[in-house]
């Protein structure tokens, strides 16, 4: 177990600004009690539609936005204590082991720095590589992500989206992390380039045994790269399972609808498509009971308006939060 998250909650206050005072007018329930764990050299997928709390979860795990409550254990250590202690050295040590690759490679690279500066910046901060070895390590990293030596002197604007994402990955790998949080790393890339990045991520995992927390709304890439998947809806997990299990026998009605909604690149594949009515409700006032009940066809039958379903184990490491399944 490399990462364990227990009952993570992240609420964002909604404020309206008066003349002198900020007034809290509501709370966005971005993440509402999620628990999961990521094993060593495993890819754990976090799937859900926009606004369901995937990115909030990831940011809270890294303490980029400290969580409202909940415990996060990284390699057995409770990291909340370390971040609250403000001991810069300890925090840096921890940051070295957990890295983040952002969704938009156009926005996450400083346009005024060359690729060499970008990739070597972690060496300046963490001082884990002796200065005489910086350049050797730089070229090693470039080669690792499939870039050429001469790219080092160039600026980010000279690269295509796929190449920029490679630079982001190289920068993250510069500190030899144990866990890489990849937040929609291929969402902004073209299909032909997407495959290159996904394959690169898989190769790196095999080589270094890095664990990935892979966040995506695209179930087809999730199926391709993840070992286990958690499906999120409105700040809660509705289902966690091994990838093959989740795709072959989804149990939660939301997962079922989500899977059936993906367009399959095959004109003769006539699956019955479940079209969900309505839209995702606002996380400011999430529905009572099961959060999915306003869009669920089984809601009346199992009285989901009142009963909050708990995440239960149905065997094989498959967990579901649904009143229909737990009875």
């Amino acid at each position: 177990m490399i990462l364990e998250v227990k009952n993570l909650v992240k609420h964002y206050p909604l404020t309206s600004r008066g003349v002198f005072l900020k007034k809290e007018v509501g709370v966005v329930h971005a993440v509402d009690g999620v628990s999961f764990s990521v094993r060593k050299s495993e890819t754990f997928g976090l799937v859900g539609e926009s606004g369901c709390g995937k990115t909030s979860t990831a940011r809270a795990v890294l303490y980029l936005d400290p969580p409202t409550s909940g415990e996060i254990y990284f390699e057995g250590q409770e990291i909340g204590r370390i971040f609250k202690s403000k001991n810069q050295q300890e925090i840096l040590k921890l940051r070295r082991k957990m890295q983040y690759v952002f969704q938009n490679p156009y926005a996450s690279l400083d346009p005024r720095m060359t690729v060499a500066d970008i990739i070597m910046e972690p060496f300046v901060i963490h001082k884990h590589v002796p200065k005489e070895k910086w350049h050797a390590r730089l070229y090693e990293l470039l080669e690792l992500v499939g870039l050429e030596d001469y790219h080092a002197e160039r600026y980010p604007h000279e690269f295509s989206g796929g190449q920029r994402q490679r630079i982001c990955i190289a920068r993250a790998l510069a500190v030899e992390p144990r866990l890489l949080i990849a937040d929609e790393p291929v969402a902004s890339l073209d299909v032909s380039v997407r495959a290159q990045i996904l394959n690169l991520m898989q190769e790196l995992q095999q080589k270094f045994g890095i664990a990935y927390l892979y966040i995506s709304h695209d179930l087809s890439t999730v199926r391709h790269i993840c070992h286990r998947v958690a499906v999120m809806y409105l700040g809660k997990f509705v289902e966690i399972a091994e990838t093959s299990e989740l795709f072959s026998s989804p149990l939660h009605p939301y997962t079922q609808a989500l899977l059936s909604a993906i367009p399959v690149p095959d004109p003769e594949n006539k699956r019955s498509r479940i079209v969900l009515p309505g839209e995702v409700p606002s996380p400011i006032n999430p529905p009572k009971g099961c959060r999915f009940h306003p869009r669920c066809i089984y809601a009346k039958e199992y009285n989901c308006i009142e009963n909050v379903p708990e995440l239960v184990d149905v065997g094989n490491g498959h967990w579901v939060a649904c009143n229909k399944v737990s009875g």
Binding site: E49, N199, S220, D266
Partner: protein, 333 residues
Amino acid sequence: MAPKEILKIENLTTYFYTWAGVVKAVDGVSLDVREGETLGLVGESGSGKSVTALSILRIVPRPGKIIDGKIIYKGENLLAKTENEMQQIRGKEIAYISQDPATSLNPVFSIADQLTEVIRRHQNVTKEEALKKAIELFRLVEIADPEIKIWNYPHQLSGGMKQRIAIARALSCQPSLLLADEPTTNLDVTIQAQILELMKNLKKKLGMSMILITHDMGVVAGVADRINVMYAGRVCEVASTKTIFRNPLHPYTRALLEAVPNVAMKREKLKIIPGAIPNLISPPSGCRFHPRCDFAVAECASVVPPLVEIEPEHYVACIRAKEFMENGKGVKK
């Protein structure tokens, strides 16, 4: 008898004159749309899909210019029409749905204003009648409480709702041809399923033709009758949806299909198309795909492959297409 064509594009060439050089965004594209069909226009970013659509409506933004070609809509060449005549066609005969529903609506006008504007522009009706029609359209695109929602402003609506309104606005004058430019790209999968279902039903109900522009092979598989694959400003392959998926002959089409992760099947490693999309200021000579093609031969760099009918209704722009056809998929690299 061949089905009647509603739109026929011949050798369309649209260039953008930028300070860095001439971008050959669309370079000799020919295609046709038949009555009542959905034509899928597939390709990656920069392949010229959107510029083709904008050229049809003659709304290519500056510094873009249509250099050459013919766009024949219902027997008339749109490129020979005056601006006034074009305004009678845009919105009324050919409607356009843009990729981003959020930016295609004006934030300072209510939805009612924006919908009635189109209706009153093309139809001789009073304000009240136009409003009634707008509410009718809201029902058509399945928006709940149309009488209330119509007075909302764009920021009060969700992405899926805005896309429904963009569809309603496009349909307001019963166009014969709908150009849908990545209508579901910015939406979540469950909402995408709703919108695709809606567009399919509406097309059937109103009997229009549609060009669906997308990069998502999954979306076209479910919606399009025929598919036109584009790469770097040119058409590489045209065939029925079934043929494209079952028997793709152009190496790019094949690679594109293999690079897509498919939820219905798990593959261990995705096929990679090496390199990146070429720069269209100085595109590769000959076949534009040859630097990335596994099957390229010396000739590919010098000869521009014409779009040839390899089998009935299946057009391929590749000099080795015949070979691929005869030998199946086992052609040597």
